[in-house]
Each structure stands twice: as structure tokens, then as C-alpha cells.
Symmetry: C2
Subunit: 386 residues, 2 copies
């Protein structure tokens, strides 16, 4: 596509059909373009209800991906679980560009490579070692102290693929459960005593970059339950996190939207904890909270369009994740108070089945005072059953 | 549907597949529900790219509409051209509610009935008469002065179905062209010497109502080229227009979103000129300009959900309609400046064909000073080819 043009027949392809693709797709439609979706599931997923162009296949098959890519003008992803070599092959076979690029994915392919990439760029990361034996598990505990965290090097999210271990017995059990005996790389990470978990999104392409405010992700059991933007930490910490996020994006030559999660230690240091080469839960608040949402800038970035402002619309923005409360056909009950709120915005993802703890929806509230805004957002959503 | 619930299998049906249904659909998706679309055109229309649930048929066939309605949980419309009797029959056959209701449509069925309904409610309307003969045409000119406007009683929009006539010869010609000789009711309207054309949207359902700010529609050749909100008129005029719009909505027992256009005369009086029982071009600015857009409140209103705030996000909001500049496959060129603007928002409707003057897209700019904001919005969009 000519960079100066938006065509009504332009087709933006998504690998993945969940809420991240859905919310990105809603922004893509704003530009009058079309949307196509590839999923490995036959059943209807959130985005499949939003387009007549939908295909299923295997994420492990470069042929399947290439067949889909041929139908699209540009391809993007809502997850980071596809091998970069398969993405590269699909791109070559189809001639359709994939952004973020296979080269970017290769630099953050798994937790080990990711950490090395960012370390090499001079970004402090959580202390880690690859562990292969019981001796490694013991040594890590001796060197960095118990408890520590074991992580599967690939495929972990939302607490899945992560285990906090307090002693060698727990470490051996977790190692086995995470697949360490099946040649699956397991990474041990030192337990960081942090005061805040922070996140920053960065949109970047050949036209420039945009860095979002530094927000706080409020976590319970490794799951993000809410976000406060801006984060209730000093301006200099916020700025430092934003600088590190931009540096990280440049280190992987990222084209798209990227999210970075940091630990703020008791000593006031920032450690990069996780990265995501896609829209991220920590940035859902940007839909109403910022002038241009992470989803809109994702679409702009991969299409090569100029990026929009990431400025906050109000002094404080709170986001509450609405996790599944019941096992049932998806339905949102008791949301009237949330809908009636003055500058509150409910987003439901269109998943057909609720499961306890599953990300089903979120609620964003704009306000002037952070504590009050976050508290109100919690209050009007606490009765919601979903 | 239980009024307290949002179900992932809930299907909102649209009669019509243009940009109004498209922008409403984008809001519907936010609630995790599904979208279905009925159109009388086989070719792909903007909304048909947004859902796998699409049906074609005739708007004159209650059976066709009922078959579609049976697949939906609630039905709404993006135009007012379907006979209320056909809507009523489709509603009865299918058991699916249509909002705005067939009874509401019956009260604004054509320009004559519409004017009588609002007059009966005590709302001043543009002076008018139904004209059937050459004598009627002459008499109207003598009584109200030349020029005046002849309108087809049904089906007019954007200057189509309207003719300004300066003498009896032009009146006779226009009368014939508008179908006056084929038993088509033709309404003569006095030419109003106005200083501003104003518009107000109202959302209303059983939970209450929300009135949007009074905005100015900037017209060229009977086509709205831009909107300024709030309108650059006194607070008391704004408030009076808002009161009249609410009164009009109550007079037709409206459930949905409604738009009203007023003339502000040189003497400072307001005359109701047109009404639309649907989202309206004058309210496109509400997507970013207000806390809750006309489209979101349309969806909420017909689903029986509580309505969201219509408050302006910034002191001034400008909207520029981007009309087709060329006859060609739809493509937006030279939009980079508009995309790069700081709080500017481009919306493209996804129509496949551009025609000169066709509504293809719009651009909204938020700002603090109206003249400056409108001027900037004009400037960054003037080079766009579409």
C-alpha cells in the first residue's frame, strides 16, 4: 500500500482471534479497511464475529499461515507464541509483511533470549539463570535466596507457566510440572522485593515512536486485576521506565505496539520483568484514557501510518479487569451501575464461555484523583457477575 | 433479554448497512454482543465487512424483514424510509422488537405527518402547505414569498428530494421532477432567513433520556460540510433548542437516538426543520467529543440499558465531513496531516466506491477555541482526496 493512502479493500490480517485482536479490529474498522482473522480453533472466538473473513489452521504450519497471509495486505499478531522461523517462512512464501517482524520475534523468542537481548541493550532485568539439573535448582536458591520463581521459557502468561518455589522440594516439583524433564528450557528468576509493578506501552514504526504514560499494574496471584495511570510513583521513576521501554523497543527494532512490565524495587531501582510484542492488558485503559489508544496505534504502526498522541485525557485513569466469576455461557450481570457511571466505560470481549478467572471484560473510569477514581471503579464493578 | 444482562449470543440487527450502522456496530461490539445486518443491496456495504451475519432482501417486504428479525434479539434502523406498517407487520410476524418502534415511525412517516406531529406538540416548525395544483404553487409563493422550497414528502435527504424555487415556472418544473404528478405528496416550505442551522441529538428509552449539546451544522448546497459543538450562539438559544428536541422526542415516544435540525431566524426564533429517528451526521463528533457517543447511546437505548453522559470532553469540538472528491475505487489520499494532528480523529466508512459528494469519511478535532479548532480541522483535511 502507498503509505499515503487508505484503501477500502486493504485487508489487515490477525493471527489470533481473542480480545486483543478484537479491540485492535475495532480501531482498524475506523480507517475503513477490512479485517481478516486466523485462529487455531474451530469454535467462534471474539473476532470471528466481527468479520466474514476468517480462517482456521495450525500456528505450527508455515503453509497454513502463508495461505492466510496471501489473502491479506499486512499481517500482525495478538500473541508471541509462534516460532519466529515459522513466521519468517510464512512471510517469504506469501510475500505479505508481518509486523512485528520475524526478526523482532527472534530477539524475544523465549524468556532466555528475551532477557539476553535486553541485558545486551543495557537494560537491567530480574536476575536469572537457566536451570537444567537439581544442582542448578539448589545453587540458584543459595545464590539468590529462597523463594524464587521458575518460568517456562516459552508460552507463559497470567501466572500460567510460572511457579514461585520456597525450597528445593517445591523447586523439583515445579521443574517437572513446567516440563523441565522434556528438554523444555526452564528459567529461574530471583524473587524481587518490589513496591510497585509498572508498565509502559510503546508504539513505533518508520515514522517515529510514541511512548505511553507509565502506569501501575495491580496484581493478585500473578494476574493483573487493575491499572492506575499514571502510576503513583515519582515523575523521575515514571520517566525512567518510559526511557527503558523505548530503549527496549529500539533494541528489538520493533514495529507495532509493545508493552513492558517493570518491578520497582524497595531501593528505587527499575528491573524489566516481561515484554509483550502486542497490545497488552496494561494498556486497555488507553481506549478512553488517552488521545490515541494502544489499539489504534498498533494498527497505525503496522500499516506504516503516523502515530497518534499518547497523552492522558484526564489526570487519573483507572482500569479494572473483569475476570470470569462463573462457569457458564458468557453473560454480564449487574453491570447497570458500571454503565450508569459518569465517565466509566465497559468493554466486553464477546467470548462465548465464562470460566472463573478468565479475562472477559474490563471497565475504565476517567477522573481527577487517582485513589478516588480507582476506588470508585472497584466499587461499581464489584457486583458484576460474568 | 434480561435488562440487567449482556449476553455474548445477543444479536443486534440493523436494517441498513451504511456508515450509521457501521459506527453503531463498532459500539455494539464493545458490549461483547453480535451484529447482524439486512440490506437491499447485494454488493458489499460498509457493515457487511463487519459481521458474518448478513442478509439481503427488500425493504418493502414484511416477510423478508420478519425472516431477518427472527434471527435477531432486537432490531434497529439506520434510515427512516421503510413504511411503518411494514415494520409493524415484521415485528408482529417475528416477535422481535423494533426500536424506534413502528408507532414512533408512524408519527414521522413523511414530512407532512412529521410536521403535524411536532406542531401538535407545540413545537414551532417552518411554515408549510401541501401543494397539489399549479394554483397551490402560486398561492404559496404569494402568501409566504419567493423563493420557497418544495420537498418530496418521503425519502429526501442531503438535498435530494428538495428544490428551492424562485418563481412559478421553477415551481412547476420542480413539482414535476419531485413526482408531484404521480400522486406523490409534495410539501411547500417557506424559505426561512436564518443565521444558523442548529442540531441536537436526544437518546431516550425507559431508563431516561440524555440530551446532547446544541451544535451548529455548517451547510453548503443543503449538504452538511461541518459541525461546531457547542454552536456559536447564546446559552439560552442552545438550551431552548435542547428543550425543543427533548419535547419532540417525547411527542413521538421515541426509544433510540434522534436528531433534530433547527433554523435560528434573524429574529432569534427557533423553527424545527427536520428530524431523524437514528444516529445523524450532526452527531458524528460525539464519538470523541462527548463522554458517550450518539452511537453508543443508540445501542444502549434500543437494548434498554441506562444511557451514558453526553457531556463534551473539551470546550470546542469541530467535525468536517469528507465528501467524495473523485469517481473511483474508494481510497483516502493525503490524510497524513489529519492522522498526525494532536487530538484529531479520522473515521473512514469502508465504502468501496467513491462518488463526488458522497459521504465517505469524517474528521473530528477537539480543542479549546472554536474558531481556531474549526479552522485547523478544515486546513488539515482540505488536501484529502477520497
Amino acid at each position: 500500500m502507498d503509505k499515503n493512502s487508505l484503501s477500502a479493500t486493504f485487508k489487515l490480517g490477525f493471527l489470533g482471534a481473542g480480545q486483543l485482536a478484537r479491540m485492535s479490529g475495532l480501531q482498524a474498522f475506523r480507517y475503513g479497511i477490512q479485517l481478516a482473522v486466523f485462529s487455531d480453533r474451530e469454535e467462534h472466538e471474539p473476532v470471528q464475529f466481527m468479520t466474514p473473513h476468517s480462517m482456521t489452521g495450525s500456528y505450527d504450519s508455515a503453509d497454513d499461515l502463508a495461505n492466510f497471509a496471501k489473502e491479506c495486505d499486512v499481517l500482525t499478531l495478538e500473541n508471541e507464541f509462534i516460532d519466529s522461523s515459522i513466521l519468517r517462512e510464512a512471510q517469504e512464501q506469501s510475500g505479505t509483511n508481518i509486523f512485528p517482524s520475524p526478526n523482532t520475534f527472534a530477539k524475544i523468542e523465549n524468556k532466555l533470549i528475551e532477557k539476553r537481548t535486553f541485558e545486551d541493550a543495557g537494560i537491567p532485568v530480574t536476575p536469572y539463570e537457566i536451570v537444567k539439573t537439581v544442582t542448578d535448582l539448589k545453587d540458584f536458591g543459595q545464590n539468590y535466596g529462597w523463594p524464587y520463581v521458575l518460568k517456562s521459557s516459552k508460552g507463559g502468561y497470567d501466572g500460567y507457566g510460572n511457579e514461585t518455589v520456597r525450597n528445593i522440594e517445591e523447586a523439583k516439583k515445579a521443574f517437572r510440572e513446567l516440563g523441565g524433564h522434556n528438554n523444555h528450557d526452564i528459567v529461574a528468576e530471583a524473587f524481587v522485593d518490589f513496591t510497585h509493578e509498572l508498565a509502559v506501552q510503546v508504539a513505533r514504526n518508520e515514522t517515529g515512536h510514541v511512548v505511553y504514560p507509565c502506569c501501575e499494574t495491580v496484581q493478585e496471584n500473578h494476574i493483573c486485576v487493575g491499572v492506575k495511570s499514571p502510576a503513583p510513583v515519582s515523575q523521575s521513576i515514571q520517566q525512567k521506565a518510559q526511557e527503558m521501554a523505548l530503549k527496549a523497543t529500539e533494541a528489538i527494532d520493533g514495529k507495532g505496539i509493545f508493552a513492558y512490565e517493570f518491578f520497582l524495587t524497595k531501593e528505587g531501582n527499575l528491573l524489566l520483568n516481561e515484554s509483550a510484542p502486542r497490545p497488552h492488558n496494561s494498556g486497555h485503559y488507553t481506549i478512553e484514557g488517552c488521545v490515541t489508544s494502544q489499539f489504534e496505534n498498533h494498527v497505525r504502526a503496522v500499516m506504516g501510518l503516523p502515530l497518534g498522541s499518547s497523552e492522558l485525557r484526564t489526570p487519573s485513569v483507572a482500569m479494572i479487569n473483569l475476570l470470569g466469576t462463573d462457569e457458564r455461557d458468557a453473560q454480564v450481570d449487574n453491570a447497570l451501575e458500571a454503565l450508569a457511571g459518569s465517565d466509566g466505560h465497559l468493554h466486553v470481549y464477546g467470548k462465548l464461555d465464562s470460566r472463573v478467572g478468565r479475562k472477559m471484560a474490563h471497565y475504565t473510569l476517567l477522573g481527577n484523583d487517582m485513589d478516588k477514581t480507582y476506588e470508585t471503579a472497584q466499587k461499581v464493578t464489584e457486583k458484576i457477575r460474568i
